[in-house]
Symmetry: C2
Subunit: 797 residues, 2 copies
């Protein structure tokens, strides 16, 4: 979790000054380099040489040969130029990204499916020998998980976990070190394949977003060979956004839901341009992904991954709606609880005590214990028989979405086509108990398993949980109305599978705070008949969950202490009543054009600011711009460097660096002391002439919008050109959390400062009094508030 | 088409200065007013009065009575406060918007359906009497269209047309006059109902977006009674965005597609927060909309509007994909042609010649002629029999999406369940001819009909066209492979209905430049089985159409000359190579703190700028802020006003305004002349201290992003605080269109200026030379370009 709050594309590279010749830094696109001039040069060469030749016949042959050569090379150059220009185009990038990710997704699915097949085969072969069977059942996933954990730890610890929280942070403009490297890619792909192949309740979606983003980042580096556009820092966000969309889209072959999910999860403001590009890449990717499975005879043609076969003509009745609403609301609570549980597990593991210290030293013990416990509990001949332990994640979903009503088939000989759903039917135990046990056990298992130090997502486990919960409600409904619901004289049976689909969408929606899970569900099941009740359930689940807990990804961001900006709720009046002046830091560290090197050095030593504001003078405080920390460091270093000392010729020239005698060291110190008191050469450094500025009365709402739109990390507060304060992400974060956590505090304590300062500033004399930079110059006195209002505002509730 | 380029929420109200007490302008939320203090006051009153009473028994009764009174009033106040706070909440607004729009949508559908029923009934009753039948067939829609046109013209001309282009402009930050009023609402609802009821090929979607937005705007004004949030100008965009989503969503009961379509069509950057709110409102609205139809027994339960019944197990084969791709590409070309045709019709009508002048004077002639021609051509016993003329729009869609293969049933007795699809089968003419005729005739009819001066959208007509085209391809495929496609030894029939669905999505996608039409199609048909081929077709159609023509809405924006900002393509290197300094206007009109009233007056008379930059002095050119035009006008007016003249006591006091003698008029002029030469009192006016600023080297890409993110209309270009230029929407527009229309011009002619000025600025002396504001101060000389590079750059290709 190392991060530097740096490299804001908006701040650093973009508004750099003095205007460097941009084309120097961004190599010109090859097409520009190759165009027109090449031909001109060629023809000039040709003409020149052609006239030089003397004797005729040899000349003519030579000339012809050369002509052919030139024509050929010209042709080749043209083709090459054409290819390079074309290959640099955006859609090529998108197609390549799509194909790569489809290949990766399919290969991973194939490998993990084979692994699970082997797992079940071993389990089946050993039937009869319970101890050996148990050993195999437990050791197989243990081996996989341990190897995955070890591999990630050794190759790239960045590969651990989901990846969505980190990507959200990266898209926010923060650079996370080593996060989008080929190493992380390899570790994540291999680690995830192993984790999925172990049969543990871990998901593919989150890590896949990370994998796709790495793929996009690496590919863009490759593409920059063809087109300079890809080297542009602005492009980075565009590339990663598409990467996210492709990641979700080709994970399950759900392009639509993938794009929407990635938007909801990773962005605050979204460029519609990227939406289109995301669609293109995700569709292509999902298409190839499904075509692979057709070629592999997994499927007959391109259909949904977990296809359902509910009746179309009358999917549900209006009278079933209360049940759907109950599923939605319950899933909201359950989702919030899942997030809470997950966070508590992580926090517990991070609490410094003897046990966690021990676990940190021996990294493999925690995943080993978790795997051991989960595998033991799901052992089919053991406790697993009461919780359908033998079903692997995908089998779970397929069976939970099936078209049967399980409560009706218990007892009688099993109907044809039931398939793996038989695992849910125990001769002695009711289906309800099994479903409930499955739900409760898998609930904590999923919450714990996703904290293991392996690449693991929570989407799929939560999806299964939701499906189980929905199925439970559906089966209860089917028992309550055994003959179905009568409408218009016709009897309609209840389909518990439909409830399962709705439950799955609602719970994943609640945990991730998204509504696009409904779309993912349609695409996964291939049926859209339940669209309206599902949307209603997902929205209800979201309403409940958003009120109780942050989303799972935000929760991880908070736990990992990544920089983030909380969302502003809609309609809180306070966001319009709090102004920047209430939250800004008034004691700004700055350099002026008269600052000495000593002052600069002191400032640099005492703070870790990435950029430092430059003002005209200490008195006027007119903001001229901001200077990069590195720039200042380099300047200071050079100022006291031996090279400069030699240049300045303060010392005799024959003294080389090698033989500095002690007496000269004293001299050096004296020289340095003297030099340190000289004013800084402001002309030597690059100044960003327009760092982002706000005025004191910018509202919290607007500040938040600007920070999230432009991905700012800080902004200076000015009053007619005078620097009066600075607001960083931290202040904003504090202000928002202070004002929204309580939800009702309409005048937060911070805001009361303003009233006082306002009262003070009323009688102040007019403009340009540089002593009080916070008092707005030339204020026409605001009409004084009535005494009552004054009283009300002065007493914070 | 009146518009003022004003009221940028980001620019005017937001950064106003001096800091007005914001709470004065935005009334505090009632909850803030009502909270805590009310109770305190109550208890103070109570305590105070309680102690005042003298004699005991009466006192006690009085005291008790008062206590009860106070407790009661306190209770009432609490309940009231609670209600008011709750009612002001966002979700109440969303629910109310949803219900209202569902009601409007359903009522309109109901009324227009009844009207069409009546139309067909009349037509049926008059069977046998061809002349009378023709008269009825023609006069019925004529009456409706004429009334609709007249009503809109009289009540609110803003109601004419689609509404999406205008809303796109409004959401861009431009204020269109009288566009979101109750009058426009009434005109649009009534006009649209009449238009839909006439059976003309006009759609509901575009106008419905407008209706929903008006509804949202009006509702928010109503809600501001409960919560001050709604009065905030920032809120406006949030409200309208949701309005758009609800409009599309409840138009056909497609919440998902509705939200996505409205995002794609209206926004450039989208706040994910609004996405969630849009979902909520649109789902609720669509839900209620469908529930109405269940109550009305139109449908048995909540299902899709144009439900299809394709087989689920094997919806299509991979070998059919080329056909789907062909549909996509053809639809791309057809869509572009539709936009072109539509624009040509509008432009023709606007060309100033005798005919158009005549038509403008007699507004009803154009719609009358169009209706007459269309109705005549579709007259079922006449030419209409060769183009399924008797089918009303919705019947068209239902029959085109049906499950039969028409080429196979021609000749034999019609199968059961064919229903209205029988209209496509002519005893003598092939289905292909009828489909082709239908497509060609409806194509130009739709393009012309949507230009009539009535509320009309183009989505539905285009949808029908696409369905017809897809069906045509499907029927051809079914003829080419009469026995279906063999795969894995099993024979699969081709479903022409599936082709129709894909064609509909692709053509609407091409015309509107969106991909969410695919989602709308799923929701309309209730089947998602064709998701991947449909996405592929829609994306191909988009690729083709976007390369050829602007979207229909952008086309209308351009024709109507509404202010807009063209999209920047991805990957054009030029957007990074062009800088603000290349496109900015260098001759900026400004006022300085030394400007006299005469200068200000002259400036105001000579320009129509909405805000004028204020600089420190003519020499320094340091930008202090910008001043609103109205502010300056008011100041000038007051400066020369009789009131001030009296105040100044330049004239004897007994002279009243009433009896100004001519000689005093001379005096007045003299006084005014004198006053005009005084320097302006800069302290008297409100200055916006931070108008949006850019630096010269801001790239075109970034400028575009900032303008579209923040909805700017102009920005000042500064160089270390000095004003050097201004960029307005117009310049940006010109620059983008100049650089992208050709598509290959990597160094546009404008950029060559920069090279020259750069060459000049190289030898210039270092900092703070105020004479050349455009030359960057303290430039470390850029490494001089090599002669070749120089040559290349100086010769624009």
């Amino acid at each position: 979790e190392t991060w530097q709050p740096s490299a804001q594309p908006w701040e650093d590279t973009a508004w750099t000054w003095p205007p460097q010749p941009r084309s120097k830094r961004i190599p010109q696109s090859p097409s520009a380099r190759l165009s027109q001039p090449t031909e001109e040069q060629a023809s000039v060469q040709h003409g020149g040489r052609g006239h030089e030749t003397g004797s005729k016949s040899i000349d003519r042959r030579l000339f012809c040969e050369r002509l052919v050569c030139l024509v050929l090379s010209d042709c080749i150059a043209r083709v090459q130029r054409f290819l390079v220009t074309r290959l640099g185009e955006d859609w090529i990038f998108l197609v390549m990204l799509g194909i790569t990710m489809a290949l990766v997704s399919w290969t991973m699915d194939y490998a993990s499916a084979k692994s699970l097949q082997a797992y079940k085969w071993i389990h089946g072969e050993l039937k009869g020998n319970i101890p050996l069977q148990f050993l195999a059942w437990v050791s197989y996933p243990l081996m996989f998980i341990l190897f995955s954990s070890l591999f990630c730890h050794l190759v790239a610890p960045q590969a651990i976990g989901s990846g969505i929280p980190e990507l959200k942070t990266i898209l926010r403009g923060v650079v996370l070190k080593e996060y989008l490297t080929l190493k992380a890619f390899v570790a994540k792909v291999l680690g995830l394949t192993l984790a999925l192949g172990s049969g543990m309740p871990v998901g593919k979606e989150g890590p896949f977003v990370h994998i796709a983003s790495i793929c996009a980042a690496v590919l863009s580096r490759f593409m920059s060979f063809f087109s300079g556009v890809y080297q542009n820092p602005y492009c980075y966000t565009d590339i990663l956004t598409v990467g996210c969309a492709v990641g979700v889209g080709c994970c399950f072959g759900t392009p639509l839901g993938g794009v929407l999910f990635s938007i909801e999860v990773t962005s605050t403001y979204f460029a519609v341009r990227n939406y289109w590009r995301g669609y293109f890449a995700a569709t292509f990717s999902a298409f190839i992904f499904r075509v692979f499975s057709v070629f592999n005879k997994d499927a007959v043609t391109i259909t949904a991954l977990f296809r359902t076969n509910f009746r179309m003509d009358f999917p549900f009745d209006l009278q079933e709606l209360p049940a759907f609403a109950i599923i939605g609301i319950s899933c909201g609570f359950l989702g919030a609880f899942f997030v809470y549980l997950n966070r508590q597990v992580v926090l517990f593991m991070r609490r410094p005590n003897a046990m966690t210290r021990f676990l940190t030293r021996h990294r493999l013990i925690f995943p080993a214990v978790v795997t051991l416990v989960i595998a033991t509990l799901t052992f089919p001949p053991g406790f697993g028989q009461f919780m359908a332990g033998e079903l692997m994640p995908r089998e779970c979903i397929n069976s939970l979405f099936d078209n049967f009503t399980w409560t009706k088939i218990s007892g009688s000989p099993l109907p044809v086509g039931l398939g793996r759903s038989a695992a849910w039917l125990h001769p002695d135990v009711s289906v309800f108990i099994i479903l409930l046990l499955f739900f409760v056990m898998k609930f904590w298992m999923s919450a714990v398993a996703t904290t293991m130090p392996i690449p693991s997502g929570a989407f799929m486990p939560v999806f299964i949980l939701g499906a189980a919960f929905g199925r439970l409600v559906g089966e209860i409904m089917a028992t309550l109305f055994p003959h179905g619901i009568v409408f218009d004289g016709i009897l309609y049976r209840i389909i518990p599978g439909g409830y399962a689909v709705i439950g799955a969408a609602a719970l994943t929606g609640a945990v991730t705070h998204t509504v696009s899970t409904a779309v993912i569900c349609f695409e996964l099941t291939g049926q859209i008949s339940h669209i309206l009740p599902m949307m209603v359930a997902v929205i209800l689940a979201n309403m409940v969950a958003q009120g109780l807990q942050p989303s799972l990804y935000d929760s991880i961001i908070q736990v990992k202490k990544l920089p983030y900006l909380p969302e502003l709720g809609f309609g809180h009046m306070s966001q319009y009543n709090i102004f920047v002046e209430d939250i800004m830091v008034r004691k700004v560290k700055f350099i002026s054009s008269q600052s000495t090197y000593r002052e600069v050095k002191l400032l640099l030593d005492s703070s870790s600011l990435k950029s430092i504001p430059l003002v005209d003078s200490r008195d006027s405080m007119i903001l001229l711009g901001s200077v990069d920390r590195l720039e200042l460091l380099a300047l200071c270093d050079w100022w006291l460097s031996p090279e400069r000392r030699l240049l300045m010729r303060d010392f005799p020239r024959h003294e080389s660096d090698a033989d500095l005698a002690p007496y000269s060291l004293l001299q050096i110190t004296a020289w340095e002391e003297k030099e340190m008191d000289k004013p800084m050469e402001i002309d030597e450094i690059r100044v960003d002439p327009s760092p982002f500025q706000l005025v004191e009365r910018t509202s919290l709402h607007k500040t938040h919008t600007l920070f999230s739109l432009l991905g700012l990390s800080h902004a200076y507060v000015t009053s007619i050109g005078k620097l009066v304060g600075v607001v960083a992400l931290k202040e904003l974060q504090k202000a928002i959390e202070g004002s929204t956590r309580s939800g009702v505090r309409l005048r937060p304590p911070l805001a009361s400062f303003r009233d006082i300062s306002n009262h003070n500033s009323v009688p102040k004399p007019p403009p340009s009094s540089p002593t009080s930079p916070s008092a707005p110059a030339s204020t026409p006195p605001p009409s004084p508030p009535t005494p009552t209002a004054c009283l009300l505002e002065a007493t914070p509730s």
